[in-house]
Amino acid sequence: MRLCKRFVVFLALFALLASALAGCGSGSQSGGSENSAVKKVEIQPGEKVKVTFWHAMGGHNGEVVQSLVDEFNKSQDKVQVTAVYQGTYDEALQKLKAAGPEGPSMIQVYEIGSRFMIDSGLITPMQGFVSTDKWDTKDVEPQILNYYTFNGKLYSMPFNTSTPLLYYNKTAFKEAGLDPEKPPKTLDEFHQYAKQLTKKQGADVRYGAGFAIYGWFFEQLMACQGASYTDNDNGRKAKATKSVIDSKEGETILQWWKDMIADGSAANLGRKTGDSQNAFMAGRVAMTLESTAVLGNFLSGIQNKFELGTAFLPRPSASGNGGVIIGGASLWITNLKPEKEQWAAWEFVKWLATPQTQAKWYTQTGYFPIVKGAYDQQIVKDVLAQRPMFKTAIDQLRGTKVNTVTQGAVIGVFPQARVKVEDAIENTILNKATPAEALKTAATEITKLIEDYNKTTK
């Protein structure tokens, strides 16, 4: 999910190119068709259909993806999946745009690329396979399913799913005289705790808090307050036309952030999430915000240095009907390949969504299982018994009400918008602008991006 400005530029270039190319060809766009059921193409006995799957999972998670693919290939003899790592989410997406007929049968795309994928004309909506195959979505977590449902139609199958959590250092809590079993619940409490946890020893400071300047956190803290990111109910009712982040709720977040940096209870650790992770693991900051998916990484990085605690993301006040938005990525079946291959890809997608597979995926990576049935699997029960901290994320997700705020905003220019928000946060904490000014600028810029996007896509 890390974002590089350069790639945003490339992405924009590709969008331009794609719109130019769209004019000269590809009449067979099934992406926009209204009837959701599609004709099923059966794989004949003795036939083996090849499926290419592009993904953006590097490191350990990449190995888990490979092991799942191997297992699927061994489990049946109709479909042969080849998984190909294509760099970051941004890189995989731009490669998809350039690849044309050489593209994959299915691809993993991050959540904020969803609008872009829908408008790309490169995909067959998942709903078609779901309806025709009468696949039951009842077992899928509603909060997760909702993010990828647009106009009542499921466009892609959620795959790796995460939300942000508050991670804290229990040992430091004890040292500072705080109850390690009572993590802060509200933004004010969080600030208060951070002050108490800050410890100065000469030039050496342990900060109470520190988390990356990451647009995702802003989006989440907005959702926690029940505030939208764009008009038209986050672009869920109709296409978004402007950004509404310059709201009271947005200012609350930036003011809170700025105050903590100003009084020295929080450290400004820059935009790289990796830096904040390391500072937290090294015990240099006592509280941090991070994705649920780094829990495993934290546990192996901290070992016996201190005791780790997890809690819900802090809210503006104890009440409120906000919640967290799903992050992560989903699987899209492209329309670049013959229908038979698309159906073969669907077989693999279905297999990935089984409770057994999800249980393995969850226990090995830390991403949520997308289906409830996974929690009945023994390996999941064992992990939850052993590491109750994994439970926090599930409780937080289940406690989230489904509405357009927690469904999350859908805009085609989300990666770029995120950078604008990060600029705003940075300008605020560096005292270059007041929260209101910074957000006003960001909102104007994002609105401009949305307008340009809407003009170039139908």
């Binding site: 190909v84 970051t88 990085g301 070992q303």
Partner: protein, 275 residues
Amino acid sequence: MSSKDRLGQVLGYAGLILAAAIMLFPLAYAASTSLMTRAEVSTFPPPLIPADPSLANYAELFRAVPVFRWLLNSLVVASAVTLGQMVTASLSGFAFATIRFRGKALAFALFMSTMMVPWEVTMIPNYLFFRSLKLTDSYTALTLPFLATAFGTFLLRQFFMQIPRDLEDAARIDGCSRLRFFWSIALPLARSGLITLGAYTFLSTWNQYLWPLLVTNSKQMRTVQIGVRFLMNEEGLQMHRVMAGVVFFMIPAGLMLLWGQRYLVRGLMAGAVKG
């Protein structure tokens, strides 16, 4: 040797050692990190030397990804591009520097103007070209676009321009063909330029990221830079493993530098004393 000279020498060496230490520190730290465990990497203050050095990260690296194949790919691609550029740049640079022909100024200006076009702009057309030839995922796609560059031509032209015209005239009078003059006289004189170009090309090709990522699809055709990226995890950086990869992939480039450095210095010396 007077004591003053000695003092100067000591100070000189001290300065050099300091500079060398500054240069070497990141490399040494990378090597040291690659021998640490996950938990040790993220402690404060960061340890410089692993408490319990282990090669486990390297074992993990060899197990997880086809490192030797990636290394081979990078070596093949970087060597082929280097060789190709040395051939094309020396021939075209020589032509622009010594041969008189109609429209030379215009041709040269046109040639140079291609340097104004950023590589990123032509990348997609290049990609589409290779796609239409069904040549993606091959060594051809990795090397072909880089076999000739305006920069190389320009660089070597400058070197060939330094060769006195009289020298060529004398050679021609003695019956030396143009190609023979190029091969036996001009090329050895432009050796330092050739090696500079070679080293520069090799390193920049070795470091390429976006193009190899774009044109290769199978794990077997990837180069080392993509390999390093593959070791990183979106949701949590595991520096110990990444560093093991970085150190391992650095070895061939480092050896290349050590070997080439000798020639680089000799080439520069030869250039300096030529009369």
